[in-house]
Amino acid sequence: MAMSPRKRARISRGVQYVVLTLMVVVIVLAADWATIKDKFTSPDIALAMFPEVIATALKNTLLYTACGFAFGLALGLVLALMRLSSVGPYRWMATTFIEFFRGVPALVVFLALSVGIPTAFPGYVVPGEVLGTATLALGLVGAAYMAETIRAGIQAVPKGQTEAARSLGMSGSRAMISIVIPQAFRIILPPLTNELILLTKDSSLVYLLGYTSTTVELTSFGRQALNQEKNMTPIVVISLCYLLITVPLSIVVRRMEARAGRAR
């Protein structure tokens, strides 16, 4: 009774679909739809969150993420170049930084900046209030991850590119800036997008710095509403807001990749 591999594959796929369908049916039947409608999708509660959820919370999440990413990207590039340097101490410093900030939870970095620094250096706080601290904390964490990604990207550019640039009389740093780094960033666009999305979610840690009605970001805003209303609707709304950031981002990057692919 030997079955052909193709027939076996078709049967096993059919079984998978049946199991998935059954799971969905069970979940749908077991759920308490009246309560779900009331506790998760209450239109009144959702509407009450506007316009603040967009005008303040979403805006702040975007702001913290963008500033943190920009700082992290710049610092990550410097760290990547230090890691590739022929000067030993540069390499060691960069490696130490990367290992530390990659290994320590982002939450610890936020606490270190908001509580640790004023304790260790009395009278001193990170400048720029919440935004300044958030940028620094997100940037330090993001830089550690991005540095390794950027380094891998730089190393993935063929050696012949540098040789061609140097043989045209470009200095080492000029060849790096004009020829190698632009190609490296094309290669690492997908993992870099990942870092940006991770950073978007890490920006929820800004709540550790304390927040006011003007500096609140999405997660804190949702949690506040959750506690007030004893209702899950705000969490559904802020989840959709996060997707509103990350899904278009993925689409834009996929387009950019397609365009870079055509030029290659």
Binding site: G160, Q161, A164, R166, S167, L168, G169, I179, R262, A263
Partner: protein, 252 residues
């Protein structure tokens, strides 16, 4: 034999004195003494692993020689205090794998070093680039990306890129070895034109026909030494050394 170093030929385009190069414990160049006169076309042939590409790459310091001195138009490129970038910009280099910049258009490939190294303004750089693209027959491809060109077109664009720096000499590292056979002729044609204009050229190649027809001097290398050099017709027609004869019998 290294005790008495000969005088530099200050009038030569390239002068290589007692060049040694090790990769680890492996001695790839074993005391090369060699020069290229101004306006001369010198072809370097030899079996793979003979060190001919390494010699070419040492001349513009893409490989750091282990010992020995190299002079470009009288300026010592192996002097630790010399501005290597400035000397390199006088030497055009063409690679086996073309090495065009894939993220830039053909025109930008030709202008970027002119602007960044020669500090030409954009209009001048574009004008020079267009003149050189016309020379290699690629005028209509200036806004294409390298990936959209055939191998032969890429190599001609690479030659035009090197020429746009107005080099005093051109070096070719097996320029046709990565090409499909039907595309070799176009590239060799461009190189012949350059030679007839009086360009100083050093060419590592397997194209014996080109060496015989265009070359002023032929150098045969084997095992990291120059075995034989001289007029291409004589070396190819009447090789003096057994190693040359055995190599030529395999490739001709």
């Amino acid at each position: 034999m290294t005790t008495s170093q000969r005088q530099t030929r200050t009038d030569a385009a390239i002068d290589v004195i007692e060049l040694h190069k090790y990769f680890g414990d492996n001695e790839v160049l074993k005391g090369i003494d060699f020069h290229v006169d101004n306006g001369q076309v010198v072809c370097v042939i030899g079996p793979s692993g003979s060190g001919k590409s390494t010699l070419l790459r040492c001349v513009n310091l893409l490989e750091q020689p282990t010992s020995g001195r190299i002079f470009i138009e009288g300026d010592e490129i192996t002097d630790p205090d010399v501005d290597v970038d400035a000397i390199r910009s006088r030497i055009g280099m063409v690679f086996q794998q073309f090495n065009l910049f894939p993220h830039l258009t053909v025109l930008r490939n030709l202008t970027i070093a002119q602007q960044r190294v020669k500090k030409r303004n954009k209009e001048e750089a574009v004008e020079v680039a267009r003149r050189n693209l016309a020379k290699v027959g690629l005028s209509e491809k200036e806004s294409a990306y390298p990936a959209h060109l055939s191998g032969g077109q890429q190599q001609r664009a690479a030659i035009a890129r090197a020429l746009s720096m107005d080099p005093d000499m051109m070096m070719f590292d097996e320029p046709t070895s990565a090409l499909d056979p039907e595309l070799v002729g176009d590239v060799l044609g461009v190189m012949k034109d350059l030679a007839s204009e009086g360009m100083t050229m050093m060419v590592v190649t397997h194209e014996m026909g080109f060496a015989r027809e265009v070359g002023d001097k032929l150098v045969f290398m084997d095992g990291g030494v120059i075995v034989e050099e001289g007029n291409p017709r004589e070396v190819l027609g009447n090789p003096q050394h057994e190693r040359t004869r055995s190599f030529l019998s395999k490739v001709l």
